[in-house]
Symmetry: C2
């Protein structure tokens, strides 16, 4: 698809130069929003603005705009002028409109809200109040809710009336007079039902919903577990506030995974998904904190070596195996912690299986340790012709593998227990700890064994 | 929720002991499939089988069974007997039935298929032909397709007739007489339409579909980009074969991410999602190949140190900084490659921006290098009171950071170009390369500078 989009972009640039308005319009009309977004990746901002000025339909503008980056949205809205911008905001889904208004300067967003019809503006202001990453901040209010005393036929007619406003009407929520959520029916069931049947008779009363203050990660997990297309959001007394749709959740799942993966290698969480497009300075800043931790930790590793200088002076070959000990320990530690972190994130690993999991990983580490330990001992024997050194490096590597696998699994589980994001434990943190530990083992054993055997 | 499920499981175990059939039935009736799955996590297999024997409705059994692990499914089906098993398979979605039959022994699955009605069996056999991870292997045939000459009203009536078989009827696909896909309408649009209008007049003709041979990862990307609830699957001439629903895609996205993350730390791809539940031997086997690569690489690192033994003998303090050089290089390399790999997976990073991305990362590496290089030089000066050593370690760390960041970004992009999964490049592979490089820089610079300045 990438090539198709690139060709299309070049064609559009050419048509813009030749001012062939009608042809551009036709191309844009036939694009899905996601395709249009990819096209804009290849266009200078001014060209994208020109295109938006060609589109007359506010709803179509809103649809295309929603998928663009917030910077691009801001440039386009500014170029279109405040009046037009507020018209477009009206046509956007409330969650997208709130996202946009939350990203621009507060006084700008107030001006735009003032230009909008009061009811629409209130709806968006409600969403803006929510903290980031809560269900409230990602919900939209384009849902259909009906009272329970309607018949199926009346309900369908009512939906026909209301629908242009509803983002997703595949579920219809049933509320009582205080707007409390008491049931749900799918559009499918409504159509299949006897037209004269009351909806209260066939609605599902055990509604799975989320709280407005709930974390978006837990919303995503519920959506994935229950296989719903949308989840209703209520406040704590059960009043229906909005819905979160599955397509928004897919985006959030991707963001959360990216955030987790970046954390696992020790990139600060503050930059998240946008890290890849950030300036070098921003990117360096996101990564430095953990590198400092790593530096401090490795100073301890250095001190361990310094402490055993005499051994090293006597057996210089000890130095040749420092890379293997460190790299192998770091890798196994990273493997074990990453597998644990991902297991916790997907729910495949339960914290209450703590000891069982650690014990299994210890066994894995022992297996790996015995195999690699024997190999490296033989290598050392052949390479350096020193059987004590072979014994030292072989034993050390084996013990390092066991330590790395055990600690690598233990840390994410402990972090989870004390309510710190376990992803943090998987990066520089674990490798640094394992480095110090492995060098302690290696030089400790070396000093000891060379003393009694050398 | 976890606690609620645990309590529930204990209650069920107690009720099973007391043979309170009716009460157990009531509890199970009120559970969603995902909740039931979690309950079975706490139950011995025999108890789960007992519960399944209590449920009379084959459709409900099929629904609950679909969410369980394939091992558990097999045990239950065996306990229920072949006749019952084939009845249940009939009620399962074709994709779930095919998944189950693909996992058990071929002669067992043939026996079960023979017991099923011919048409159902044929549908499942079609799916079983597809290679794993293709669109064909994850599609199901519970879709609604209609000819284009119906009116909206006729279409709705037709759907009322067909529906019990359809997993997702929110999209209705329009096909010509040869079953070729020519349009799509949503159930919503159908209900909103004038009952007398022909569906050919308001159907969307530009249908986004996927090929049966397409990789599931690309299907997931399309679903996420276009925000659809289902995608139609066709063979290369455009004949409609099945649909893939968004809930299946969410599961696949999670699997793919887990697979990627495991690959990033060098766990073989063969074990994927199930790694966390595998035996220690299986887990060790999945991780050993890359550890061997790492060992071989670090032998080179060791040789670099050996080659510079004289320098090390003269300035023993050089050894104290090996951990910092190696750990910092490894971490920055892992950061850069992970950010690149994730960027490529989400589509935020394009291969055609190769040189621009590498140049940006080089700048990031330089910034990090200058800052950390100055700090470590000062530390070395104070700690070891040796200004040449300060210069050597400071310069080396700076150069290592630049190399690590650049190579860390370059490798995933090259891997993508030559069609190897870039996730492989992010783990032990990159850290080993960077280790060798950083020690070459460190000891090369050290030997040189101590010769001319020492």
């Amino acid at each position: 698809m990438e090539d198709k989009i690139k060709d299309l972009s070049e064609k559009i640039i050419k048509l813009l130069e030749e001012v062939k308005i009608q042809e551009i319009k036709e191309i844009i009309d036939n694009l899905y929003p996601t395709e249009f977004t990819e096209v804009t990746d290849y266009l200078p901002v001014e060209q994208t603005i020109k295109i938006f000025k060609l589109i007359k339909d506010d709803e179509r503008i809103a649809e295309l705009l929603s998928e663009l980056s917030s910077e691009l949205q801001a440039s386009i809205m500014e170029a279109l002028g405040k009046e037009k911008a507020s018209d477009i905001l009206e046509e956007m889904d409330t969650d997208d409109a709130a996202d946009f208004l939350g990203d621009i300067a507060p006084h700008e967003s107030r001006k735009l809200l003032d230009l909008m019809p009061k009811e629409e503006a209130e709806g968006i202001k409600e969403l803006l109040k929510y903290e980031e990453n809560t269900a409230g901040s990602i919900m939209n209010n384009e849902f259909v809710s009906l009272p329970e005393d309607l018949t199926a036929e009346e309900a369908i007619n009512k939906i026909r009336e209301l629908s242009p406003e509803a983002e997703l009407i595949y579920y219809i929520y049933i509320v009582d007079i205080r707007e409390k959520l008491i049931g749900v029916i799918s559009l499918r069931d409504l159509i299949m039902a006897n037209p004269k049947a009351k909806i209260s008779e066939f609605m599902e009363e055990d509604v799975v919903s989320v709280l407005d203050t709930e974390d978006q990660e837990s919303v995503a997990k519920k959506m994935a577990d229950y296989d719903f297309l949308a989840l209703p959001v209520t406040e704590k007394r059960g009043i229906l506030l909005g819905i979160i749709t599955v397509d928004d959740i897919i985006d959030i799942m991707q963001e959360e995974v990216t955030e987790d993966i970046h954390k696992m290698v020790g990139s600060s969480e503050a930059y998240e998904d946008k890290l890849i497009k950030a300036s070098p300075l921003t990117r360096a800043k996101a990564r430095l904190p953990w590198l400092f931790v790593c530096m401090a930790g490795e100073m301890i590793s250095g001190s361990v070596i310094k402490f055993h200088s005499d051994t090293l002076q006597a057996v210089m070959a000890m130095a040749f195996f420092i890379p293997i000990i460190m790299a192998m320990g770091g890798n196994v530690g990273a493997q074990s912690s990453t597998i644990a972190v991902r297991g916790l994130a997907t729910g495949q690993l339960r914290v209450d299986e703590l000891w069982y999991n650690i014990w299994t990983e210890t066994k894995v580490g022992s297996l790996i340790g015995i195999i690699t330990g024997i190999i490296i001992a033989l290598v050392a024997l052949v390479w350096q012709d020193n059987y004590v050194l072979g014994l030292v490096i072989g034993l050390s590597l084996c013990l390092t593998m066991i330590t790395a696998a055990t600690v690598g699994t233990l840390l994410p589980l402990i972090f989870t227990k004390i309510k710190i994001d376990p992803a943090i434990s998987a990066g520089p943190f674990i490798t640094t700890i394992v480095d110090v530990g492995s060098l302690l083992i290696y030089f400790g054993l070396g000093t000891f064994l060379f003393k009694i055997l050398g």
